[in-house]
Amino acid sequence: MLTYRPLVLGVLATVLAALLYLQAGRAIDDGDAGALALAAIGIAALVGASSWYSTRAASRDQVALEGSDRTRLVRHVIALGPVHRTRAQAGRLVSTSTDAVERSAQYRATFLGSVIGSLLAPLAVVAIIAAAIDLRIALLLLAAVPVVPLAIGGFRKIFRKVSTSYRASARRLAAEYLDSLQGLPTLRGLGAGRARGAALAVHAERVRADVMRLLAGNQLVLFVTDAVFSLAMIVLATGLAMAGAAAGTLTAGEAVAVVLLSTLMTEPVDRIGQFFYIGMGGIASGKEIARTLATPMPRAAADAPEPTDDDGSIVLEDVTFTYGRDASTPVLAGFSLEVRRGERVVLAGRSGAGKSTVLGLIQGHLAAQSGAVRVGGHEVRDVSPAWLHRRLGIVAQQTYLFTGSLAENLRLAAPEASEADLWEALRRARLEAEVRAWPRGLDTPVGERGMSLSGGQAQRVGIARALLADAPILLLDEPTSQTDLDAEAEILAAIAELCEDRTVLAVGHTEAVLSSSTRIVTVGGAA
């Protein structure tokens, strides 16, 4: 998962800088300022090029990781199918697919590699000191190197507690505020807005004082690390360099080079603070993504075979279905139904009898505990969902409109449809006249950011979609239960036209279908 370029290039930049410092030492000993200036310019250009390339590569990796994670998540969510979610759950899913994906990618692409690189850099510096200056000094400094990651590990333990309670306090502050904002309409309805605002300010101040107290502890950790590493690295190196110079084992240039090189070894310290802020957020986001992807999928695999024959029927045979684990009160128990090609059947039954459950089983959204559910003569769970959905058209209680134009919403059902096809579908769905009156016609934006269509208009868009999809079997799930009263007659007329030449299974009192239907089947006892 880790991208290696920031790691390798980070170490390379440190090595280059170390070589330059060695050259500085040489210049001090031989007085050749010209050679040093040339080396400085040359090596600096290389370091610059390497960090240019590394930053660029990290950004590209981030974009790529973000895109692939997002696609994987959304594909998974679609595969989970129409599962009931609360608004909060849906909101969390959106935030996982956007925010968490972004943060996790940033962590993996730009952060992790460079952190590891900066932890390895001191080893490279020690190696260079050993090779070019003095083995003994290198070994002594090497002994100090593990102090850095060890201390980070140690502090992480202490810090985790502080950091957890710090984040909990900060979250409490945010939650309190969010609570008040979301409740603002209620507060205003009660005329309590201003009083609540004042109370909120007092409370926020209390939590802030908490946060500051924790921050004081948190920063203390940084204080210690900063002091310890400045001491451990620079003071140790300077002491060794001075001793070497006094004893005559080091030249002046070599001694200066050791001091300069020690500055390269303090680099990991600067990363510690960042690690807790960016690093922890990135790790948490990655876990969130993994959790979502781990949700098991109830639906058939998309690579199931596509049958070549189709007898145009719907058959349920001795079906038992229970929501959840409570097997004592099945919604359907030993339920059977047969709808032959061209037939029209209306499902009747009291509230909760399982009419919508039957439609869910036929579409493969639900899986029966026992019995057989066949469409076109094939067991629903054994065929490819795409094949199944080409057989089934549905007009549900509510039609969901996607952000985009009306044309895009219609082409969801038939991507290849021409503009003329769209107008024809709108005409048959009894929506043409209204759309012609809109200034932007088929290009009118609809959905959350678009024109707010009435329930009846949205429903006729749903009917137009079903017409465009042109599936041989039509499922009607109470298509007029949510529509405006004045549009009801038109919708019923449109549905009647949609039903022509199709096999129809309907739920709800859809008069247009009832009048010409051949059969009424009662679900779960008397209607």
Binding site: V74, P82, L178, A353, S356, E478
Partner: protein
């Protein structure tokens, strides 16, 4: 924008000077650490003592760390104070814009502004002002010292290097800001696309549109990636050039001072090396600052927005006692939303020529399908919005002429999803009337049919309701909200009926509570189940923003019109809800 932010935070800015001072000390210590270490080599070669040099280094290192600690602490102190101030101000400015501003489509956006954008401003207070000042002060001081006391040549090299670093930090600033703004917009589009896919997953599955949806998502993702690439191009250019200068400058200064003797040259190089981080900080915070400014801009937009219902210049006297509510020829459209292509989506009037009266002491039920406009009528009576045309009057006084505080005393609202704040039942009730006694609270609970429920709770009124009231059932939440409305004791009540199905006992209790509430008030019930309002004094049928029928339950059923059709539909609708549960 800088001025606006500083203005907002003025009362809490003082400790920032401590932060800046301490940052200066820490940076100067960084310079001193290297200068003393470098100078120590010469001392050692001359046979000088090693220990005093090392002790000096230890002392400097400790002072440096301590200064850094104070810098961070003071900086965050100011930042958190300023953020708290911003949040409180934002709440105060939003309150008169509610509920229009926090309901419906814009909620998510607004909440993200109020929380995430406020957080982003932290960068400005904690990590910008200090580094910006010291990026100039510290190099200027060190440069002057070098020029006067060490080596004018090295000072010249350093000055050139540092100036170039500052220039590099501003490279491509405009392009980056534009790309950041575009990127945020595209990220919004991504979130919208994902939201659509999740909410419309039935359609996506039914039309086998999975791959097309993913392709659409990918297309937006690629647009975002292109903007990201623009930003990265500039960021990596800046980073590359800065790193070049960071590495080259100290060593060039060393080379420049070398003719003066290596001892001098080493001190010069150490000073330049030590002071460079102060300058580099500019390049580091510049990238974050983009985002902080953009966030501040969005906050300002919300805080400067006009309230949905302006206060009258000269408020009318509030009517007293029981009063009538009347809507006359009301036309109302919700504010248009940006369609995402810079054009406003056409809005459909939510109400179109509505005229109705709720006489004092009677109950009017508003019925119709969802989206018909019945909730909008309720919102206009509570003056959450003002009508575009026509008027809403309370006791004969136009709602627009009443002071907001008076109006809130006259009209009480029980929303469909009553919002309970994390806290106890008592806390939630006291919101309505902070000075209420326990006796009054219990009386209100009795009228709201809550007594039995409270008796079952060991902590009674002090029972915590949980986040968003989730510890209580839907029926209990609704009844707490009714008790709250009763405590308000307002002559007008707007009651949005709960939609989810309740068990029979709860429903009966709730019906009883409703009847108590209605007594002596002008009540508008936004009804979702017709069975609960058959005894209303007046039933108004709303359809597509117009009133299509009115009368009593019996009259309307006999008329066999719109109401009768709704009545017939109801059974089917409740059926479906039962099956989905």
């Amino acid at each position: 924008m800088t001025r606006w932010l500083l203005n907002v935070a003025r009362p809490v800015l003082a400790p920032l000077s401590i932060s800046i001072l301490m940052r200066t000390v820490a940076l100067v210590c960084g310079v001193a650490l290297l200068v003393v270490a470098a100078g120590g080599i010469a001392t050692a070669l001359d046979g000088g003592a090693i220990a005093p040099v090392l002790w000096t280094l230890v002392a400097i290192a400790l002072v440096k760390a301590f200064a850094r600690y104070l810098e961070q602490y003071a900086g965050h102190y100011v930042a958190f104070k300023a953020l708290a101030l911003l949040r409180v101000m934002m709440f105060a400015r939003l309150e008169p814009q509610a509920p229009a501003a926090v309901e419906g489509r814009r909620t998510g956006d607004l909440l993200s502004r109020a929380t995430r954008d406020v957080d982003r401003v932290e960068v400005f207070f904690a990590h910008t002002i200090g580094p910006a000042l010291t990026a100039v002060l510290v190099p200027a001081g060190v440069g002057a010292w070098l020029a006067l006391a060490v080596s004018p040549a090295a000072a010249g090299v350093a000055a050139a290097g540092w100036l170039l670093m500052l220039c590099v930090a501003s490279l491509g600033a405009r392009a980056s800001v534009a790309a950041s703004a575009g990127l945020r917009e595209r990220r919004g589009a991504l979130a919208q696309h994902v939201t659509d896919t999740i909410q419309g997953v039935s359609e996506v599955v039914a039309f086998s549109a999975e791959e097309r949806r993913l392709a659409g998502l990918d297309a937006i993702g690629r647009e975002a990636a292109a903007l990201q690439a623009t930003r990265a191009r500039w960021a990596s250019t800046r980073r590359g050039l800065t790193q070049t200068l960071v590495v080259a400058t100290p060593m060039l200064a060393l080379a420049a001072a070398l003719p003066l003797g290596w001892e001098t040259a080493v001190v010069a190089a150490a000073a330049v090396l030590g002071a460079t981080p102060a300058v580099v900080a500019v390049e580091e915070f510049a990238a974050e600052l983009d985002q902080a400014y953009a966030a501040a801009g969005r906050l300002r937009e919300v805080m400067d927005a006009a309230p949905a219902t302006p206060e009258p210049l000269v408020p009318a006297a509030a009517p007293r006692g029981e009063l009538d509510v009347a809507l006359t020829d009301v036309v109302f459209s919700y504010p248009a939303v940006d369609a995402g292509d810079g054009r406003d989506a056409p809005a459909r009037p939510a109400l179109d020529g509505v005229t109705m009266t709720i006489p004092a002491g009677t109950t009017t039920a508003l019925v119709g399908v969802s989206g018909a406009g019945k909730s909008t009528i309720g919102a206009l009576i509570a003056r959450f919005h003002d009508p575009g045309e026509g008027s809403v009057t309370l006791g004969g006084v136009d709602a627009r002429d009443l002071a907001d505080a008076d109006l809130r005393r006259l009209v009480s609202v029980v929303p469909q999803r009553p919002y309970l704040f994390a806290g106890s039942i008592r806390d939630n009730l006291l919101l309505a009337r902070p000075e209420a006694t326990d006796g009054e609270l219990l009386a209100a609970c009795a009228d709201a049919a809550l007594t039995d429920t409270l008796a079952r709770m060991p902590q009674g009124l002090d029972t915590p309701v949980g986040e968003h009231g989730t510890q209580l059932s839907g029926g209990e939440r609704q009844r707490v909200a009714i008790a709250r409305a009763l405590l308000r004791d307002a002559p007008v009540l707007v009651l949005d009926e709960i939609t989810s199905q309740l068990d029979a006992a709860t429903e009966a209790g709730l019906g009883e509570a409703m009847r108590t509430v209605r007594r002596g008030r002008a009540v508008a019930v936004i009804a979702h189940r017709l069975t609960s309002i058959v005894d209303a004094d007046q039933i108004v049928v709303v359809d597509a923003g117009r009133i299509v029928e009115r009368g009593t339950h019996r009259e309307l059923l006999a008329a066999d019109g719109a109401y009768a059709r709704l009545w017939a539909r109801q059974a089917a609708a409740e059926d479906a809800a039962g099956a989905r549960r």
